[in-house]
Symmetry: C2
Subunit: 195 residues, 2 copies
DNA sequence: TTGATTTCTTAATCTAGATTAAGCCATTGT
DNA sequence: ACAATGGCTTAATCTAGATTAAGAAATCAA
């Protein structure tokens, strides 16, 4: 019985005590050390993970060997490679723990069983997927039309807890600039030029 | 009773004849002339639209007055401003018909009623939302790490029917380059330099 | 604790793509 | 049929951000 999980889900859909109990039995707990993988590209994302503690990161390497970070997942966020998870085919993204983390894993087969046992969980996942899509749309618009500085500001608003804890090169790969350029922007911000 | 709508939905979930009939009663048909709006930014996206004929486009203007195209919707695609639709609050995007189009409108209240009457329709929308999110993730990675030429190639693969029918400035605003630069890339492609 | 590795910063140089501007071609409305 | 408006092309110039490189600071391993 994981209180954080239940509380997070109840923000969106109703669950009786019995349902909450039953729900937890579909999940499996796992601890990850810093820099440990949940899975890598090429492996199948068997599960979607709910972060109980720590921070996870979803990223991939492009042709030139640079990393591109799709998502950070701090406490109470969900994380997986969605394409791999829904089709159960090899992942294009990899997921690692940025710091020591505890996650609750829901396998794809358990998720589908869960949908038939507790239909409100299908609503729950529809809603959080819709919200993720909306957030992604905003980010895509920013990638096409906002400056690097504006994207950095958006990052700071979206993930305030990560601004000073996550490596800058990871933040740079999330907003889509080189680490050197992020460093330059930050020193300009400190010198009070703008922001 | 709209055959294209039913056929499209049946690619993902099962519908009996009676269910298909009932389903159609939730939709309202609307014809749009070329350049007519489904809605603009500031209005509420009351409905999600299924495109029966024609092509729709979702876009917004950034601060410098440049357009940013989020999505094209050719025949049998769904289109709306998702954030506005799910929260029934003013839209940040606008949706217009690129050419004369026929759409089937599903209002938010009808959608929620539909979910309770035909639960497989909740599965249907969860699945297409998941797929849209996966596509968006790929596009975001491209925006951060692929060149303009590669993004243009991806566009050509994703929307082959639109490459020669949609205005180039709209394609440019979708892949995130200036119309002038797209024109330059195309002439380099024709001169056989690369692609 | 110390050496080794990784991360961050700074600065010079370079480039993909933006901007500006001008001319041409295609549609559209009257 | 004809202007007029909007879309496309080409070319010159400009700039945000990449790349390269090298030193400083932090983190890690033993």
């Amino acid at each position: 019985m994981n209180a954080l999980l239940i509380q997070t889900i109840r923000r969106r859909v109703a669950l009786s005590e019995a349902e909450a109990d039953s729900l937890c039995s579909f999940f499996e707990k796992r601890s990850l050390k810093k820099k440990e993988w949940l899975f890598r590209e090429g492996e199948v994302a068997h599960s979607v993970a709910f972060v109980c503690s720590g921070v996870m990161r979803v990223f991939a390497d492009d042709e030139q060997g640079h990393e591109s970070t799709l998502q950070f997942a701090p406490v109470d966020w969900w994380v997986t490679d969605l394409a791999s998870f829904i089709k159960q085919e090899p992942a294009l993204w990899k997921v690692e723990a940025i710091e020591a983390s505890e996650v609750l894993l829901l396998s794809r087969s358990n998720q589908l069983r869960l949908f038939s046992v507790l239909p409100q969980m299908e609503s729950y996942f529809r809603v959080i997927t819709e919200n993720a899509l909306v957030a992604q749309q905003q980010r895509l618009q920013d990638a096409n039309s906002a400056s690097a500085l504006e994207r950095y500001k958006s990052f700071c608003l979206k993930y305030p807890s990560l601004v000073d804890t996550v490596a800058q090169k990871h933040i740079a790969s999330y907003i889509g600039v080189s680490p050197e350029f992020l460093s330059k922007m930050k020193s300009e911000i400190i010198r009070g030029k703008r922001f």
